[in-house]
């Protein structure tokens, strides 16, 4: 019941999760490809492809740094916009709950659960999607160009970094709404007194 109330409309929740997950997937894909190029060089493989991989690696590393900042901003901005939309969609449920006599903390609890679920699903589908799409792409490119198959990968640390990034930005993006909802609840409490 608690989960159903916090999720609200399943379709809307899924859309938000997929949107945020796609952004996380972009970061995860970039990370996995960068890992691949650095590990290839670190191994010290003596190969004709070394200059190509070297330049590709530096390009990718540069690209990643150029990516991370705007993509993180994009993640925070998207979660903020989605948070506003989410607030619109769930405010009716929250109001009903308040009028039905639910304590003020319960609404915050519902919001927290929703944000946790949103972060968890976005993170999960994000890194899984990013990693697998990059592996599929590299496999097909390797076939098309008859080049050796190098496998993009993510380390457990990358997964942890992505989790911190996703959970952090989603909570940060929704913090305004969270605080605002809190103040509305306080006003309502004053009025009811």
């Amino acid at each position: 019941m608690m989960f159903k109330l916090s999720i609200g409309k399943g379709e809307e929740f899924l859309n938000q999760s997929i949107t945020l997950g796609s952004i996380v997937a972009l970061i995860a894909g970039g990370l996995s490809v960068t890992n691949l190029s650095t590990s290839f060089l670190n191994v010290g493989t003596n190969s004709n492809y070394a200059p190509l991989v070297n330049s590709l690696s530096s390009e990718l590393t540069g690209l990643l740094f150029a990516w991370v900042l705007p993509v993180t901003f994009l993640l925070i901005f998207s979660s903020f916009i989605l948070g506003l939309r989410s607030g619109q969609l769930t405010s009716r449920t929250h109001t009903i709950l308040r009028y039905a006599g639910s304590p003020a903390g319960r609404v915050r609890q519902l919001m927290t659960i929703r944000l946790l679920l949103l972060s968890l699903t976005s993170w999960l589908f994000g890194w899984v999607g990013g990693l697998i799409v990059s592996q599929l792409a590299f496999r097909f490119v390797a076939i098309a160009t008859a080049s050796p198959y190098l496998i993009p990968f993510l380390s457990p640390l990358d997964i942890l970094v992505l989790a911190l990034m996703t959970f952090g930005s989603i909570f940060a993006g929704n913090s305004v709404l969270f605080l605002k909802t809190g103040s509305i609840i306080k006003e309502e409490e004053v009025v009811s007194l």
Partner: protein, 533 residues
């Protein structure tokens, strides 16, 4: 819907529906040995060696004993079973095991029958699914040979039965006992079982189709297997050379594929939406197949001939039917089991193909694990509510099952009788092969080392303990290296399938035999095997 197998009153038709798949299963798995009077398949030779050593030296220590190899003896289920059967019957392992172990493997079909019946309560579904599974070439050709997997698969399938039912102590005990049998026989299969046992309650808890209490308690099953596995490895099997090992980044990738396949299947199961996913999956299968006829899709994978691609048509039909069956399958605890059973091998297939550099060594073994649940779902689709075809449904479904079974069985014939290279045709051994290996062992040839392909290596090295260098012979025959360090063993099938390296025969130049005649002298010849020096 659910009827217990034991509670059913069995009519003559029902008995026939059970007997047919069993007979087909036993026939397809035992006729290769009966045809050639020598063990079918390469992997059995070290296992025969271990079994004979157990009988010769018992009581003795298994692990770390030079009488055994340093890999198979750490998973000794099949060898212990073979030795016990040999003592009981008085027959030698080399005569008994090539017939007995494939017979044991054919019992997987019976377990599939029971599972399908428990899942659907429909005897037609049970019979059709076990027929489709029994005829599948990748299972029937592989399990006609003595391997650890051949012996472990029916135990693995039986271990899945407790996963279909609510948690209770009886089920936990049955699962623990059976899964220990799997662990003792094959570590990779034990790992797959662990993943399935974990996937079922996890999926059930996430989608809310298993009651919370039951779902959580079911996690005790993988926990028990995991604990047994770790203990077994730390106490006994740690010196074993593991053929499949995983790095941390590969574990992350595998987890990714597991999450993806479970997620997609759960979504389809719950919503019955996203029909485009079916089309995408089918398209992926056709693209991979199409690419494989022109290019090498994965390292060491062969380029498929159009003939082999055509032979895959029955599997594509089963895939389409299985996708339809999955949508028809009612949402319940049993559909959660189906999702877990199917998602794990699908995920491992994706992982093997896209996340490992040499995935082909794993992928051809995974097909049989995907095909078992797929055949049940295909049969569900055939028995489905096709209201417009009510009059024709029965005959049409029968025709489809018979066509799929015949087309799949044809591949076994193509492999066993016609020695088709890409279907394992070089797995046929003759009594003369065993004679040549015995002759070589009794004659010291240049420090006991030989060169020969993988087929020769498994027999000479795995059974008789003669070191064999596989690449040296290939390099000589293809002209890469004109100096042959070790005597070379050839056999008549080499002229049909080429030089067996990396799971199938590599083509040899047309003059390979005259090259041998002109440059080397013939040391041994029994009409089939020749040793050149």
């Amino acid at each position: 819907m659910y009827t217990n197998v034991m509670e059913r009153v069995w009519g003559r038709r029902d008995v026939l529906l059970l007997t047919l798949p069993l007979l087909l299963s036993v026939f397809l798995r035992t006729y290769p040995y009966l045809l050639y009077r020598a063990p079918w398949g390469t992997d059995g030779w070290p296992l025969f060696h271990n079994t004979i050593s157990i009988l010769t030296y018992s009581p003795t220590r298994l692990g770390g004993n030079p009488a055994f190899d340093d890999y198979n003896i750490y998973w000794p289920g099949v060898s212990l079973f073979g030795a016990a059967a040999s003592v009981l019957t008085g027959a030698s392992p080399l005569t008994l095991m090539p017939l007995l172990i494939p017979f044991v493997a054919s019992l997987t079909t019976f377990v599939i029958f029971v599972m399908a019946y428990r899942l659907t309560g429909n005897i037609f579904v049970a019979s059709a699914s076990s027929l489709i599974f029994a005829a599948s070439s990748f299972d029937s050709i592989f399990t006609a040979s003595v391997t650890k997997e051949t012996f472990a698969y029916p135990i693995f399938a039986a271990s899945l039965l407790p996963l279909m039912r609510r948690f209770n102590l009886k089920n936990l005990s049955a699962f623990t006992l059976l899964s220990f049998g799997v662990l003792l026989s094959h570590y990779a299969l034990a790992f797959v079982l662990f993943l399935v046992a974990l996937a079922v309650p996890t999926t059930g808890l996430v989608v809310g189709l298993l009651p919370g209490d039951d779902g959580l308690k079911r996690l005790l099953l993988p926990a028990a297997l995991g604990l047994m596995g770790i203990t077994y490895y730390l106490l006994y099997a740690y010196p074993s050379v593991l053929v499949v090992t995983l790095t941390t980044s590969q574990v992350v990738s595998m987890a990714g594929y597991l999450i993806l396949s479970s997620g997609i299947l759960s979504y389809v199961m719950m919503t019955k939406h996203a029909k485009s996913l079916d089309l995408m999956f089918l398209l992926l299968v056709v693209i991979v197949l199409g690419i494989s006829t022109r290019f090498t899709f994965a390292p060491f994978a062969p380029t498929l001939t159009p003939g082999i691609a055509i032979l895959s048509v029955p599997y594509i039909i089963v895939t389409i039917l299985a996708m339809s069956g999955f949508r028809i399958f009612p949402r319940s605890g049993r559909s959660v089991f189906m999702t877990g059973w199917l998602s794990v091998p699908l995920a491992l297939g994706g992982f093997a193909l896209f996340s490992t550099p040499e995935g082909i060594g794993i992928i051809y073994r995974i097909l049989t694990f995907i095909y078992a649940p797929a055949s049940v779902l295909a049969a569900v689709a055939l028995a489905g509510p096709w209201s417009r075809l009510r009059r024709w449904k029965g005959p049409l479904a029968t025709v489809v099952v018979v066509a799929v079974v015949l087309a799949s069985s044809l591949q076994s014939y193509d492999s066993v009788v016609l020695h088709s290279n890409l279907l394992g045709g070089q797995w046929a051994y003759y009594p003369s092969d065993i004679q040549s290996a015995a002759w070589t062992q009794s004659h010291v040839v240049l420090n006991g080392s030989l060169s020969g392909d993988a087929r020769v290596s498994y027999l000479y090295s795995g059974f008789d303990g003669i070191p064999v260098h596989s690449s040296a012979g290939f390099e000589f025959l293809t002209g890469i290296n004109r100096n042959l360090t070790y005597p070379l063993t050839t056999y008549s099938l080499m002229g049909v399938d080429g030089y067996d390296l990396n799971n199938f025969g590599q083509p040899l130049p047309s003059n390979w035999f005259s090259l041998l005649l002109n440059n080397l002298s013939l040391v041994y010849n029994n009409g089939n095997d020749m040793i050149w020096s």
